[in-house]
């Protein structure tokens, strides 16, 4: 890039800032303002819509003053201090705030799934079925180490296709099953602890520490079960939230404390924010300052749509979106990564197959440009008319949008895989590894952050897609969250579009604004998560 050289060295033709003539200055200014035009305009609109959703002017000025003093001022000051200290302290602070936040979001999503969709019996049966199938495969491997590939394949297929559903049916008929929290503890808690242990073991290259970490995490998860449920934290909620928010936070804190650079001061930041919030809430309560009468409040997030704007909410559509995203991720992520792996690692350059591969590449880049409404038509014709799925059910919506983002995932995963240096691959081949071993042990772990970044961005786009949902007949508004993946559903953007048709002022400037802010918050937090992952792993390479 031209500018980098000039900026770094001062340039051989004069200082960068020194644009000698007026037309040059004017041109640079015009270009800058053009760059800012879209950003400023959309930022302005976002401010407007947030204002309509929150209605800050209805709040007591004292309310703002209190929160400014307890929350905003201390956290801004702390961030400024971290930045001045330099050395990545501010990044540590923001990450330490971000990890528990995203973990809580993810954990709440999982909790909602269990409250509304999956009953604990189904989950238990599913886990037992998976354990049985996995156990058979692993046992067979251990007993017959030299088994031929065909034999392994038959055993795996039989245990997955025949044995697992049988077990599932069998377990579903049990009259009594263990307590719900016990099931969660041994699925999520134990699974999370094992993953945490593996991470630590890999990070330190020490299996014993990893085992200790896993044991300690699991012990804490178990101990937390005995918190008094009257605080609102039932054992189920504790186990899931600790697994998704607590464990990653603990691991991150541990890595920062142990790292050589010693930046643990940043870890204080979340405490400053949370303490500020609590203190502010307590003071506001004590002094009797009323908060804003926002449209976007707890009631909006937890109730169904209604004819009356004051009672309208987004809850069923929120659950619908979460469930749809589960289908989208399951249907598009493995296939997208698989396709990218083939194109980058296996695809031949010449011969008849090479022509086909080039055709596939062109095809994928073209698919990324096909209008979303056409994908909706595809979903309607393929899933609803031909395969006779119901119109407007979660699976159809998820698979349609999964197809829509598939090319985007493939392209971004290809870029991530291409960025893995080929010396790593050659080293692996040099050790005698086969191609698949190289891919699984070397290429994939190295490319995973990049693949995740691209995929999360694609999922962020998927969550806002509306036109395909209209085409496959997603419901305008549902009043109950879907019961299963074959149930009628609505999603957040679909719900917002349903509100467009409501002419009342309160809907246009109130309810809809609240819905838009909810949707954009979800989208921007997904983008932020992607950027966090990218920044964290960029330093390494």
């Amino acid at each position: 890039m031209a500018t980098e050289q000039e900026g770094a060295t001062g340039g051989w033709f004069g200082e960068t800032g020194q644009i000698s003539r007026l037309p040059g200055k004017a041109f640079a200014a015009v270009c800058l303002s053009a760059t800012l035009f879209g950003i400023v305009m959309v930022a302005g609109l976002l401010v407007y819509v947030t204002k309509d959703a929150i209605r800050p002017l209805t709040a007591n000025p004292g309310w703002f003053l209190v929160f400014f003093l307890t929350l905003v001022a201390p956290s801004v000051a702390a961030l400024g201090y971290y930045r001045r200290r330099g050395d990545g302290e501010a990044t540590v602070a923001l990450t330490a705030l971000g990890i528990p936040f995203f973990g809580l979001l993810l954990g709440s999503g999982v909790l909602l799934l269990f409250i509304d969709v999956l009953s604990v019996v189904e989950w238990f049966a599913f886990v037992v079925a998976a354990v049985v199938a996995g156990g058979v495969i692993a046992g067979h491997r251990r007993l017959r180490a030299g088994a031929s590939f065909a034999e392994e394949f038959v055993v795996a297929a039989a245990s997955l296709v025949a044995l697992a559903p049988l077990t599932f049916e069998f377990v579903s008929t049990f009259p009594t099953i263990p307590e719900a929290w016990l099931i969660y503890l041994f699925t999520f808690g134990l699974g999370g602890a094992v993953v945490g242990g593996l991470v630590v073991a890999r990070r330190r290259n020490d299996r014993r520490t990893g085992a200790i970490t896993a044991g300690a995490l699991f012990a804490v998860a178990t101990a937390g079960v005995f918190i008094d449920p009257s605080t609102g934290i039932t054992p189920q909620i504790w186990v899931i939230l600790f697994t998704f928010a607590g464990m990653p936070t603990v691991l991150y804190v541990e890595s920062v404390v142990r790292s050589r650079q010693r930046r643990p001061l940043g870890l204080l930041f979340p405490f400053i924010v949370v303490a500020g919030m609590l203190l502010g809430a307590a003071l506001v309560d004590l002094l009797g300052f009323a908060g804003p009468e926002a449209w976007l409040d707890f009631q909006f997030l937890t109730s169904a749509n209604s004819r009356f704007p004051e009672e309208a909410g987004i809850y069923p559509a929120l659950i619908g979106s979460v469930m749809m995203m589960v289908v989208v991720a399951v249907s598009s992520f493995p296939i997208g990564v698989g396709a990218a792996l083939y194109l980058e690692e296996y695809a031949p350059n010449d011969g008849p197959l090479g022509v086909l591969v080039r055709f596939i590449e062109i095809n994928i880049s073209n698919l990324a440009g096909v209008p979303s409404v056409v994908y909706g038509l595809l979903g309607l014709a393929l899933f609803v008319n031909w395969l006779n799925f119901g119109s407007g059910i979660v699976v159809v919506g998820g698979m349609t949008i999964g197809l829509l983002i598939l090319p985007i995932i493939i392209i971004s995963a290809q870029e991530a895989i291409r960025a893995v240096p080929s010396s790593l691959r050659q080293a692996s081949y040099g050790m005698g590894a086969t191609r698949w071993q190289t891919i699984r042990r070397v290429v994939l772990p190295e490319a995973l952050p990049g693949i995740l970044t691209g995929s999360i961005l694609a999922f962020g786009r998927a969550i806002g897609e509306t036109a395909p949902l209209l085409m496959i007949g997603a419901a305008a508004s549902v009043f109950q969250p879907p019961d299963g993946f074959f149930d009628i559903f609505s999603a957040m953007p679909r719900q917002i579009y349903a509100w467009v048709g409501q002419p009342a002022y309160e809907f246009q400037y109130g309810v809809m604004a609240a819905g838009v802010v909810t949707l954009i918050t979800v989208m921007i937090s997904m983008n932020a998560a992607a950027i966090l992952i990218r920044n964290k792993y960029q330093r390494r390479s």
Binding site: R21, R141, S148, I360, I362, N363, G369, V373, G432, A467
Partner: protein
């Protein structure tokens, strides 16, 4: 894999391994080939119903008819929809193309790496905002604002929808054009400075012409995106087909007509239902051709400098 043999296997071609390797390879190939299957499925599903449609309504009447009224009068002339689509696309191009090229010039030639690292993600967010939200912005905030400026707008109008589409596709023009400009070799710039050109002259006289085909291909891609854009026009531009569109009035584009057909109560097998697929395949053909053209132009560009 778990079964490492004791005898060294330098080529990695022992029976088990190669069978597994082969099956994994073909499995991954299947994933990649799925994209072709998706394309084929799109074409097939669109064609099936579109052919049925064209057996009932003559293609001449469809492509040259000047009245679109599928449910009431059973008139299936697509020209008003095409006119609306082209009109909205042209209006949004008027915004996106100059702004996009100017911001690409700024990002590639003037911005410091630090500025670029802030501005580029901010621009990306423009492309990531859900389009139904843009439609809401256009309907609820932009139209009243433009009315306040004194423009004679109706509630649903082409102008605010086009402005929003324009803003939505700015990041596409700017990031693809910036890639093209950054790929221009520095020696060309240095030659320019060597003959005493100013930075302005180098940017407009050397870099932009040298990157012209890349910039042009970004235009095509962005316009194809604008043609296929649905929710902004559905929400903000209204549903009234017009052969001669006006920016201040409501109009109907092809994507909006499809949404209208699917959301009104039409029977599954009726002509109006199939008309949706006929529009769908027209839209698919146009955008697919534009995407192909864009990658063709861009690949010709790449040949020039490497």
């Amino acid at each position: 894999m778990s079964q490492e043999t004791n005898t060294p296997d330098f080529v990695g071609q022992s029976g088990i391994r190669s069978a597994r390797e082969q099956s994994i390879k073909w499995l991954l190939f299947g994933c990649a080939a799925l994209s072709v299957a998706v394309t084929a499925a799109i074409v097939a599903t669109l064609l099936f119903d579109a052919i049925d449609f064209f057996l009932e309504v003559s293609p001449v009447g469809f492509f040259l008819g000047t009245e679109w009224s599928p449910t009431i009068k059973e008139e299936f002339g697509v020209l008003p929809l095409v006119a609306g689509t082209l009109f909205v696309t042209a209006l949004s191009a008027l915004i996106a193309i100059p702004v996009g090229v100017a911001s690409a010039t700024y990002l590639s030639e003037y911005a410091s790496p630090q500025t670029r690292s802030i501005i580029k993600p901010a621009l990306e967010i423009l492309a990531g905002i859900p389009t139904v939200v843009y439609g809401y912005f256009a309907l609820v905030y932009l139209t009243p604002a433009l009315e306040w400026l004194g423009l004679p707008l109706s509630t649903f109008n082409a102008l605010s929808a086009s402005i929003m589409i324009g803003i939505m596709i700015i990041p596409m023009v700017s990031s693809l054009s910036e890639d093209a400009m950054s790929a221009v070799p520095d020696s060309l710039r240095q030659a320019g400075y060597g003959i005493g050109a100013t930075k302005l002259e180098v940017s407009t006289g050397i870099v932009i012409p040298a990157a012209a085909s890349g910039i042009f291909s970004s235009f095509i891609l962005a316009l194809s995106r604008a043609i296929g854009e649905t929710m902004i026009v559905v929400v903000a531009a209204g549903m009234r087909p017009r052969l001669v569109p006006s920016p201040f009035e409501s109009l109907e584009v092809m994507t909006a007509a499809m949404v209208q057909l699917v959301t009104t109560d039409i029977a599954g097998g009726s002509t109006a239902y199939r008309a949706m697929f006929a529009i769908g395949i027209t839209l698919f053909t146009i955008t697919f051709a534009m995407n192909l053209a864009s990658s063709f132009v861009a690949s010709r560009y790449r040949e020039e400098y490497q």
